[in-house]
Amino acid sequence: MKIRVWKSLARGVLLDAIRRKDLWVVGILGFLVVLCAGALGFFGFDGLEVFAKDLAVSVLGGFSTIVAIMVSSRGMTEEIKNRTLYPLLARPISRFDLLFGKFVGAVVATWVSFLILAAMTGIALSFFHVHFEAVTLQYLFLKMIGLTLVCAVGQTLSLVMTNSAAITTSLIVAFGSTLITRALGMGYSSAPPSMQAFFKALNAVLPQYGLFDIGSRVSYSGWGTAPLWVVGALTAYAVAYCGFMFILGWTKFNKQAI
């Protein structure tokens, strides 16, 4: 029964994303990437395989992260703002089911757009006669797990702040993740011992998106795949972090007057 409820809610989110043309925008962007690559390939770009791969991976990562943030951040805030939440919560479902269903919907919509864009990018790279290695599949898997994390953070932030604030914060955390982690590391090294725990805690609380991006292994051939235990550990980290974010959001939403 619960799975049916989650499925219905998720389908609603996906249908909404498709009708809003979110996924179409991704498709069009992908098509433009293909066109540009085709043009570059036509004029000859032999030897620039690494550059092309690097660019493609960056574009893929950037666009899909934006989609993840947009879809997950607006889900609950729009429900509350547009008052579409009332007829939903008037049904015999718990607030947990509602949140989880919306989350699953945001994740599926993000994955679909990511895979569309990945397919488009793959076509674009074929213009450069680029060969894909096994690590590409690992990259896609980890990226999807990372995007799930982005959705969890986006949805939770949307429950504690306004839509635009949630989007801005999510964007800063997502795109500045590596930079923030590095800055916190520097802060930790230079801070007095009494303050080091603070930096450590802050770093632990922030989502480590950078860990899920193995784009460099795709760009540079010969690096090989990441060990399976690393993939497993990252998946476990993502599940735990999503759970943490979810509980945080649910705690806020469960008693919230609407």
Binding site: S8, L15, Y86
Partner: protein, 321 residues
């Protein structure tokens, strides 16, 4: 030490009596925190009950606490104090919501879904699935006059049409209790009549209706009973037929030298004739008989229905004073 068992007994007693009712509210308090952080008590110790199969109108001026009460019944807000039960079940519980169809005050539905998809989504959340859900959703949309707009996206529908989508979704799964907030909002006269018929039909099938409205004509035509609230407090609870009887006035126009002051509500002279109003039929009959016995002529007899609007304004005014 003694207070706890007593309280438990009281709760059990209230709950038992509430199982017989569709809705039972006891000393309900609902509090909001305003944007400035100030606490606002929207509902202040409200107590009432709605019997199974009744149609009850919930009336009050803007900001009286109607929507807050309905939201508390649905579990959208946690009451600060008091108890509310739906069919003896705690209000807002999943079990109670299984038996309720709810229409929110403002009809807003997913703009990019069609009415049929909207109802299918809500139906699935209600526990309905497959072809039977699709059939029921289509039939309901046809009943509310959206047969030709089944596959148009909600964003292209007018306010009245969205209200119809809302009404249709509230009727999904044939709920035993319909809680409708501002039910006629945005509907044209034809839509109102259709809605009235639909709701009456549901009542005949055994449903209980509890709705808030500012449309007193709808209340007049639909309700068995009304609850009037102001500033979060219940100020009147009346059966509509007795209220109408109380509001009814009788008047006669007569000529002749007859004094009816002891029977009359009001007497005045106009165009050489006397006009007198009476509070009830018995006084009217006595008045007519006296005029005839004393050689006067009764020119006209009028039975005037009292205005629900006047009653509403007057009662709210008195309560505010």
């Amino acid at each position: 030490m003694d207070s706890k068992p007593k309280e438990t007994c009281e709760v059990t007693e209230i709950k038992l009596s509430m199982e017989a009712s569709a809705i039972a509210v006891h000393d309900l308090h609902v509090q909001y925190r305003s944007k400035k952080g100030k606490s606002v008590e929207a509902v202040q110790g409200l107590s009432f009950s709605v019997g199974r199969g009744e149609i009850v109108g919930f009336l009050g001026p803007n900001g009286a606490g109607k929507s807050s009460t309905l939201k508390a019944l649905m579990g959208f807000v946690q009451p600060k104090a008091g108890r509310a039960y739906v069919f003896g079940l705690d209000c807002g519980s999943i079990d109670s919501r299984k038996r309720i169809g709810y229409l929110p005050e403002v009809a807003m539905y997913y703009p990019y879904l069609t009415p049929l998809e909207t109802l299918t989504l809500y139906g699935e959340l209600q526990g309905l699935f497959g072809s039977s859900l699709r059939k029921e959703a289509t039939e309901l949309l046809e009943q509310v006059g959206l047969g030709e707009s089944l596959r148009k996206q909600n964003r292209s529908l007018s306010k009245g049409m969205l209200q119809r989508v809302g009404i249709a979704q509230s009727l999904l799964g044939s709920p035993e209790l319909l809680i409708l907030d501002e039910v006629t909002s945005g509907l044209d006269p034809v839509g109102r009549k259709e809605l009235r018929n639909l709701l009456k039909q549901r009542q005949k099938q055994g449903a209980t209706l509890f709705f808030s409205s500012h449309e007193l004509s709808e209340v007049d035509m639909l309700c068995d009973r009304i609850l009037l609230i102001n500033q979060g407090k219940l100020i009147e609870e009346r059966k509509l037929d007795t209220l109408k009887t109380d509001l009814r006035h009788f008047a006669i126009t007569y000529s002749g030298d007859v004094i009816l002051n002891d029977l009359a509500d009001k007497t005045w002279s106009e165009s050489g004739n006397l006009h007198t109003t009476f509070q009830n039929k018995e006084l009217l009959i006595q008045g007519v008989q006296r005029v005839q016995l004393n050689g006067g002529t009764v020119i006209d007899i009028i039975a005037q229905e009292g205005s629900l609007e006047d009653y509403f304004v007057e009662t709210i005014g008195k309560a505010a004073a």
